[in-house]
Amino acid sequence: MDRIDPRARWIFSFAFLLSATMFWNPAFLLLFFLLAVTWYLLGRTRWKETRRGWLLVGFMLFTMIVINTIITGGGAGGVVPPGGHVLWPAGFTIPLVNWQIYFGLTVERLWFAICQLMRLGGVSLIFVLIPYTMDPRAYGATFRGLAMPDSVAYTMELSFRFIPTLGRDLAVTLDAQKARGYELEKFKGGIFQKIARIAPLLVPVTMNAIIASEDVANAMDLRCFGQAKRTWIYPLRYHWWDHALIAFSALMLLGSVVAVHIFNAGGFWVPDWFMRLFV
């Protein structure tokens, strides 16, 4: 992965997002999913470092798929035709409010959940990977390389620079306010008071950052920021494989458009073998 130019990686990632999300056809989704798994393995990340990312994705997939699609039957909106083979008919009433919930888990909806898992899982594989395989120094040059103006691309780079500084400022302010008896843990009152109690932290850090920005802007002007077309010293070079990857991305996107809009191959269907498992 290190040898693939970051610009090519971004192009591929976005082409993948656009392509995969055109389909509900399980055959294509499987193909995309396998492609994503291969790509993810190329990144050679360790489970320990990506665990936090997957925790979030896991939670998202759980709410999307288990709660919304399987339990409440909401998620399959517009894709799964109404009706179908009911697996587990049930209706129950939520206590206290007396809301009646009726739903029937159908085979179709269960299969849809699997398709959703492949589609969302594929997209997640591609996008969770980015921060773990991208050198923070490369962001500015990469976005410049993807046709953003110098000033906007540089903003990203400058942001990285200020993260540790502001992190330290926040810690100092927290200590300074604690010394005045401020206790984060003891927030009393309703939601409004609770949120307002963050002001002693928020205000000094924000205002300090704004005051400091005058000096930073001066320092940049004094070193000719925006005076000429910027050179980005981060080395970015396309190799043949990068061109191949970009070509592949373009083909994937084009192929998907053709498959979905001309051959109408994007649609959802349930394979017979799956149906036979239940019916």
Partner: protein, 541 residues
């Protein structure tokens, strides 16, 4: 005679007024600089020196707008006819706070910034970056992250970034402000070396005594936007107000004889029967993490009623870490800290704050309320004082710091010096018994910080005061006890007259002896104690 067109910088009849102000910031400035010279521009805050620098480096009129009169010429060419890109390759500027000047996450990227902006070819940039880093002696930092570097290193990085653009003139805005004495000394040597290499070095600084160490060829003194003195070093020492600008102690000593003696009576006084221990450190060790080395090792000392303690030590010696333990912001890894007899591990910081008030370096790190009254009420409210108590405490605190008129003003709109006082009042309002201050003089000029310290030490309300400082003179003028920290250990703890006598010892602990210390040592047999130069002048025949 040097031809006017070959002079790096000539300023003639320069005046400037910012659009947002009514009064001009600088008026009728005339000066010129030769190659290879160091020029010192001295003056207190608000004297117009920063504005003058902005006129030279092009920030005026490119980023700041207003009415400009007169001429500024670089090698005969008017700055007003030049683009920023052109000016920046002739004039390099180092701003006061190197932290804010550093633009790159990594040293390499920071030093390359200007060259990248100019759009030079990549290979040339890398070459020039390496050359600049080498020139500053920090090539080994090239691939380091800028965030973790020390203050002295940050300044060298900023210098390298400017030097990479090959300027002929170097403007330095209070370059010593954020450095400890050892780093400041090193920085000054670098400035002299750069001048010797042919650059014109202009240093704007109120720490006149320090800059004199590298013998600037020309000295300019500014006051209220005008140049009131221009000439050699000796002349300056006779004309400027020694309460505004810090001059060598012997000079003040001689000159102060003719003026009335200063009045100073500290409110915190040591008495014999004062044995009450406010804070006690007992075998305190501290490290942030098990894998990391100890930052504090076997710290033992007590703070008693009547103590005015200065904590001295080099950057990274553990001063702030130690002081944070007294309040319980950090808890010892080993050993105990007792606050009025209670272990800090067993009480909340809010409880501790009733005994210990801790003022951080910069007031803007804590000011947040819409009015001064709200700001001052914040602490006592947190500590659970009743409404009446809060009101009374706030009233008393604001009167003590002499800012009663500003009760309804937004603290963020006040001047730095006023904010500093508000931050003390915020602690006063909590009725803390012990006041601790981290670098109380940071960001203030000589006159301001002296009057600040004078008033804090003379105000009633605290039973003991502890302050962290780099400034040896501050310690020996105000403290009745000095603690020296070196590499996380207390290496000395006694009255100033006892521990500051051995200069070799001090240098070993990276504390540089000053002219005031030497003057005091000279007269110690007669005085028996250390004083500021003005007081000394009247104590000695």
């Amino acid at each position: 005679m040097i031809d006017e067109n070959s002079r790096p910088l000539v300023i003639e009849n320069l005046s400037f007024r910012y659009n947002s102000r009514k009064e001009p910031a600088i008026q009728e400035i005339n000066l010129s600089v030769n190659p290879g010279e160091v020029m010192l521009i001295a003056g207190s805050s608000g004297c117009g020196k920063t504005t003058l620098m902005r006129c030279v480096n092009g920030l005026i009129p490119n980023a700041y707008h207003g009415d400009l009169d007169g001429g500024i010429r670089l090698y005969g060419q008017s700055v007003l006819d030049m683009e920023m890109a052109e000016i920046s390759q002739k004039v390099g500027t180092i701003l006061q706070d190197p932290e804010r000047q550093i633009l790159g996450t990594y040293v390499l990227n920071d030093v390359a910034f200007g060259l990248e902006s100019l759009g030079l070819p990549r290979d040339e940039i890398l070459l020039r970056v390496d050359q600049a880093l080498e020139r500053m002696g920090i090539l080994h930092l090239r691939d380091r992250e800028t965030f973790g570097t020390s203050g002295g290193e940050k300044q060298k990085i900023a210098l390298a970034g400017v030097l990479a653009m090959n300027p002929k003139i170097l403007l330095l805005d209070e370059p010593l402000a954020s450095l400890d004495p050892a780093s400041a000394h090193e920085a000054l040597q670098i400035f002299r070396q750069l001048a010797d290499e042919g650059l014109s070095v202009v240093i704007v600084e109120h720490r006149v005594e320090d800059v004199f160490a590298i013998e600037p060829e020309r000295v300019v003194y500014m006051d209220e936007g005008q140049i009131t003195y221009q000439g050699g070093r000796e002349g300056l020492m006779q004309v400027v107000d020694y309460t505004r600008i810090k001059l060598p102690a012997e000079v003040v000593f001689t000159r102060a004889k003719n003026d009335p003696p200063p009045e100073f009576e500290p409110a915190v006084v040591k008495t014999e029967d004062n044995s009450e221990e406010l804070v006690k450190f007992d075998g305190v060790h501290f490290r942030y993490d098990e894998d990391l080395p100890f930052v504090l090792e076997d710290i033992n000392f007590t703070i008693k009623k009547g103590d005015i303690i200065a904590i001295l030590g080099h950057n990274g010696s553990g001063k702030t870490t130690m002081v944070k333990h007294a309040l319980g912001l950090l808890k010892p890894t080993k050993g105990v800290v007792l606050l009025e007899g209670q272990e800090t591990k067993t009480i909340t910081i809010a409880t501790a704050a009733k005994s210990v008030g801790y003022v951080f370096q910069s007031p803007s790190q804590m000011l947040f309320a819409p009015t001064v009254a709200d700001e001052l009420a914040f602490g006592p409210k947190n500590l659970g004082y009743s409404k009446d108590e809060v009101r009374d405490n706030v009233q008393w605190a604001i009167q003590t710091v002499n800012l009663s008129d500003e009760m309804e003003s937004p603290p963020l709109a006040l001047s730095f010096g006023q904010q500093k006082r508000i931050s003390i009042a915020a602690i006063l309002a909590m009725r803390s018994r012990l006041l601790m201050m981290d670098e109380p003089t940071a960001g203030q000029d000589y006159w301001n910080y002296r009057s600040f310290m004078d008033s804090i030490l003379q105000m009633p309300g605290f039973e003991a005061i502890v302050f962290i400082t780099h400034d040896l003179d501050l310690a020996l003028t105000y403290a009745n006890r000095i603690i020296i920290l070196y590499d996380g250990q207390i290496v000395a703890d006694d009255a100033p007259e006892e521990i500051l006598l051995d200069e070799d010892q001090l240098i070993k602990y990276r504390i540089l002896p000053t002219s005031l210390l030497r003057l005091n040592k000279l007269h110690l047999p007669e005085t028996g104690s250390f004083f500021r130069a003005e007081t000394l002048a009247h104590k000695i025949g």
